[in-house]
Symmetry: C2
Subunit: 192 residues, 2 copies
DNA sequence: GCTTTTAGCTAACACCGTTAGCCAAACCTG
DNA sequence: CAGGTTTGGCTAACGGTGTTAGCTAAAAGC
């Protein structure tokens, strides 16, 4: 019996890819084992269980989302940066619905948890966007939460098919960016 | 063996209540059966399976959320109505996290699906709010989607413990309402 | 009051996550 | 390169959960 040459990272990567394909709810240990060419119990040599697998997929997703947003906003500021970050996040969610779903409902165990680290890194992209609007300190935290809520809500609702009615969804998203940009600009000008 | 006198509605109501208590992920057929005082297979006389149960809980949640929002906005307009609707939805999600979670990821099978009907009814509350802002027609659909995304995103992120960092969450929510109100007012005044 | 329907039951199966325990492949170390 | 050690794979087995089949007795209808 030849070895498959697996390691935790490979298992997690395969799990994330499989989750994107079949949906996180249908990601089963047996299916993942089959995918990586191994019997089910062998997975437990690399991952301590399904919960651990889910957490690691979430960390991977956070990290990749942070990368995507971080590089998307480079060279832009203000509205362009906002649009770039928002589009990058939405694109990521649409292309990787399974791994993104893994991030919902997992709580970091502490500030050193990789989940928290990567989460902050993703937030940093939005924070950089806000810097371009010169918003006063007390408003920044709230604005950050708003951006996250908005993108998260829109992406998950679309991914779940929650927008049943007529208007074009891409158009709505661009409208939403414009709306937010105007609001943030108004907030920044209050300082003057 | 005396009868328990169950019917689908009773089973679904008990399931929703149980989901709120133990979390949707921990809602098991055995647990629900125990709760309603019956053996597990008996549930299948009222509900065709776990997926069906989930759908029905989602319909119930949609209906109740629509009721809560609808009655919350009565007598208000403009910013007050917006705040009332948003708070009603958030309160509902916080008080009934399990049944609300059941609504995530379920797609209506068609326009006559009760899920779609109740969903529209919930949207009607937001639509009524928007009427107070006198927004031009093409913008209404987009604004509706924005309101839904924002509330859904905020509520689910909070319910999942996704807001790890410092600032007060209630305060953020009120800030978010104010931000949206200003944006919508600006939109309405563009008409003049 | 008899028949029909139906809501409950027990028994059993399939599938999934997980653990225990074994064995051989890879990797050190002398 | 030979020896032991680590380790990544395997089979076997258990517990729990969703579900179906088939029976029986309680309720409903004529």
């Amino acid at each position: 019996m030849p070895r498959a040459g697996l390691d935790p990272a490979a298992v997690v990567a395969a799990g994330a890819a499989l989750a994107d394909e079949v949906g996180l709810a249908n990601l089963t240990m047996g299916l993942l084992a089959e995918r990586v060419g191994v019997r089910t119990p062998s997975l437990y040599k690399h991952v301590s269980g399904q919960e651990d697998l889910n957490r690691r997929i979430a960390v991977l997703a956070m990290s990749q989302a942070a990368d995507a947003m971080g590089s998307a906003i480079q060279g832009y500021a203000g509205r362009d940066a906002l649009a770039a970050a928002a589009r990058a996040l939405r694109t990521f969610v649409m292309e990787h619905p399974g791994r993104y779903a893994a991030t919902i409902g997992v709580e970091p165990s502490g500030p050193d948890d990789p989940l928290a680290t990567e989460g902050r890194r993703a937030m940093d992209a939005f924070a950089a966007v806000l810097r371009g609007y010169e918003i006063e300190e007390p408003d920044v935290d709230h604005a950050l939460r708003m951006l996250r809520s908005l993108c998260h809500g829109f992406a998950t609702l679309q991914a779940a098919g929650g927008f049943q009615w007529s208007a074009d969804i891409d158009e709505s998203f661009e409208w939403l960016i414009a709306f937010t940009d105007q609001g943030l600009r108004a907030l920044g000008q209050r300082r003057a």
